[in-house]
Symmetry: C2
Subunit: 349 residues, 2 copies
DNA sequence: CGCTGTCATGATAGCGCTACCATTCGTTTT
DNA sequence: AAAACGAATGGTAGCGCTATCATGACAGCG
C-alpha cells in the first residue's frame, strides 16, 4: 500500500478522523478534471454527462483503483440496493433454493442480498427485521406470512416493498407462494383414490413448520370427507432422512394396520423409503410412501417417490422479478402470485 | 445552542431533501433530555454513560420506535459489522453448510452476512469483492484460495481480515480448511488396500471445482505409487445424483474392467449407487463406489457409502470464531487451521 | 434580438451518525 | 489547599456521497 498517497490538496482538516488514505470520488474528480458531482453522475447516470467527461472519469477510476463507498452513497441517497432476505432455516434445502432463485435474479439487477436466519423463531425474525431496516434495505423478503406483533407493526409502517414467499395468502404487501392446504388435499386425494384407507400423516415440529401443518389440514379434510380417520404422528426432530426412518418405525409400531404414510416432506419420505428397503419391506406393497417438495433424491430411489413438486427456484425468481418491477416504479398488477404445484406420481404409492 | 423550545425545532432547513419523517437519534436525545452524542453512547457503549441517562435513552427509543440508521453509523465510524461471504454455488449443499456455521456464530456476535454467489466465475468474484468492499465490510470470507489478479490486488491492499475457507494453503490472510490432496490420497489408499486395481476417478467440471481436481491429484499419486493406471472421467454437468448415474454408465462403457469408482463427491457417488441398484448391479461385488463429503444420504443408502467426512459446519464455525477473535483485536496465533477429515468406511467398497 | 427550453456542469448543503476534543464536576492525591 | 485525575457529558466537525437548486452555453423560434 502506498503511503505517500493521493490526498494532495483536498481539504486539509484541522483535527479529526484518521486521515484515510482511501481514494474518494473527489480524488477521481480531481484527476479527471471535473467536479465531484459530475464524477458521481458519470458513474451513476452515465447518459447525464458528456462523452468526454464520462471517459475521463472512468479512466481516473481505473487508474486510481477507486472503489465507490456504497455506505456513503446510501446515506446520501437513502437507497441502498440491498435486499434483506429472511429465512427460517438453511438446513432445509427448500429455502436455499428459493434464495438461489432470488439471488440470481437480484444480483443481475445489481442488488445484494443481506441474509438472515431465524431458526424458526419469530422474535429472532423481529430482531433481524429491525437490523435490516437500519440498513435502509430497498426491500425485504421473508418466508411466510406469520410474524409477531412487534414485527408486524414495524413492517406495516415501513415504506418499502415487502415480499412474503412460500405460502399463499393475505400478506402485508407482495406475496408469491403456493397453497399448502390444497397441496395436502391433493396428495390425500391421490392416496384415497389409490384405495388406501389407513393413512398416517407424519410431520416434524409442526408448530414451527406450520406450512406442513397446513398441508395436514388439507389432508385431514379429504380423509374426513371420505369418512376415514386421519391420525397424525409428530416427530420432535427437524426433518431429515434419519427422522424419516424413525417416523416409519413409529408408525409401524403405533399404527400397525397403516397402508400409506403421507410425510410432510421428501427428506422424511426418502428416509423412510430407504429404511423400508433396508428392512426388506415392500414399497408400496407393504407400505406406501408419499412426500412433498419434489427433491431430486425422490427420483433416484427405487421405487420413485410419489411427491408434490413445488417450484422453489421459480418462486425465488418470480419474487425477485416482482420486487424489481416494483422497485423500478412500475405498476404491480397483482400482489399475490400462486406458483402452484404438481403431483408427481412415482412407484412408492 | 438554545434548547429552550423543546419539540419540533430540529434543523428547519431552507430547501433540501425530503423532510424525512424518520425518527433519528436526535429525536431520541431530545425526548430523553440528553445530547445526541450521549444517546449514541447509551446505545453503543452502555457502560460509558450514567444509569439514569441510559434508562431515559432506552425509554425514549422504545416510545419513539427508533430504529438506528446503520448506514449513517457505518459511515461515521467506518465500521459496518457486515461480513461479506462469497461462495461459488448454493446448489452444492457443502457451501450452504459452511454458511450456516458462519452465520450462527457471526449473528450471535451481532454481525450480518452479505452473501454473494460467484457461480464458479472468478471475474464475478472480483465484482462481488469490489461491491462488498464498498460496503466497508468488517471482514470477508471467500471459498477457496484462487482469485483473479485484479481481485488479488484489491484484497492485498484491503486492511480488514480476509478468511479463505474450504481448502488449506498459503492464503492472503486467514485460512481454515482441509487438505484435499491428502483426502484424495486417503481414499485412494483405502481402495488399493481393499485390493482394487482398476479404479476410475469421476469428477464434474474439474476446472471449476478445482478442489475435486486436487483430490484427483492425491488419488493419482497413490495409484502411481502402486504402479497402476489412474484414469479420469470428467463429466460436463455439475455434480448431482443424475450426473452420478451418468458417470456410472459411462465408466461401465469406457472402462468395462473397472472394479471401483472414486467419485469427486457424494452426490455423484450416491447417484451412481442408486443407479447401480436400479440396474441390479451388486455394490461392491460388481463395482465398488466411494465418494467425498459425508452427506447424510450416504449413510441411508444400502450399502452405506464409503466416503470422506469433511466437517463443513465446523469449518464455518471455526472460521467465524477466528474472524471474531481478530476483529476484537485479539492476537491470532495461527493463520492456518486444518479442520481435517475422516475416512468413513461403508459397505460400498 | 429577446425569450424560452434543453443540456452539461457546478456550488451548496446536508443524509444521520460518531470521532475527537473540550468542559464540567466531584473525588483523590501530594 | 492545590493539583491531578477520572467519569460523565457535550460541541463541533466531518465520514463520502448525492439531492437540490443555480448557472452558463447554446439551439430554436417568433
Amino acid at each position: 500500500m502506498s503511503k505517500d498517497s493521493p490526498n494532495a490538496d483536498l481539504p486539509t482538516n484541522t483535527r479529526q478522523r484518521r486521515s484515510s488514505d482511501q481514494v474518494t470520488l473527489s480524488h477521481v474528480a480531481q484527476v479527471a478534471g471535473v467536479s465531484p458531482i459530475t464524477a458521481s453522475r458519470a458513474l451513476n447516470y452515465p447518459d447525464k454527462v458528456s462523452d468526454s467527461a464520462r471517459r475521463s472519469v472512468l479512466q481516473a477510476v481505473e487508474s486510481l483503483g477507486y472503489v465507490p463507498n456504497l455506505v456513503a452513497g446510501s446515506l446520501a441517497s437513502s437507497r441502498s440496493r440491498l435486499i434483506a432476505v429472511i429465512v427460517p432455516s438453511l438446513i432445509n434445502s427448500v429455502f436455499v433454493e428459493v434464495i438461489k432463485g432470488l439471488q440470481e435474479t437480484l444480483e443481475a439487477e445489481g442488488y445484494q442480498i443481506l441474509l438472515g436466519n431465524t431458526d424458526y423463531d419469530l422474535d429472532r425474525e423481529y430482531q433481524l427485521v429491525r437490523t435490516f431496516l437500519g440498513w435502509s434495505c430497498s426491500a425485504l423478503v421473508t418466508a411466510g406470512l406469520r410474524h409477531n406483533s412487534a414485527c408486524h407493526t414495524l413492517l406495516a409502517n415501513w415504506d418499502h416493498p415487502i415480499m412474503e414467499v412460500m405460502e399463499l395468502g393475505q400478506g402485508m404487501d407482495l406475496n408469491v407462494g403456493l397453497d399448502h392446504v390444497a397441496a395436502g388435499r391433493c396428495m390425500a386425494t391421490h392416496l384415497t383414490d389409490k384405495g388406501y384407507r389407513h393413512i398416517v400423516y407424519v410431520g416434524a415440529r409442526l408448530a414451527q413448520d406450520y406450512r406442513a401443518s397446513m398441508r395436514f389440514d388439507g389432508h385431514k379434510a379429504v380423509l374426513k370427507e371420505k369418512g376415514v380417520d386421519a391420525p397424525l404422528l409428530e416427530l420432535d426432530t427437524l426433518g431429515s432422512l434419519q427422522a424419516g426412518a424413525e417416523g416409519l418405525a413409529q408408525v409401524l409400531e403405533q399404527y400397525p394396520h397403516t397402508q400409506a404414510i403421507h410425510f410432510a416432506n421428501d427428506d422424511l419420505a426418502a428416509g423412510a423409503l430407504l429404511a423400508a428397503q433396508r428392512q426388506g419391506l415392500n414399497v408400496p406393497g407393504d407400505i406406501a410412501i408419499a412426500g412433498f417438495n419434489g427433491l431430486p433424491l425422490g427420483q433416484h430411489v427405487t421405487p420413485q417417490l410419489t411427491t408434490i413438486l413445488s417450484p422453489r427456484e421459480e418462486m425465488g425468481r418470480l419474487a425477485a422479478k416482482e420486487l424489481i418491477r416494483r422497485l423500478s416504479g412500475k405498476n404491480v398488477y397483482r400482489r399475490q402470485h400462486n406458483v402452484g404445484f404438481t403431483l408427481q406420481i412415482g412407484g412408492s404409492t
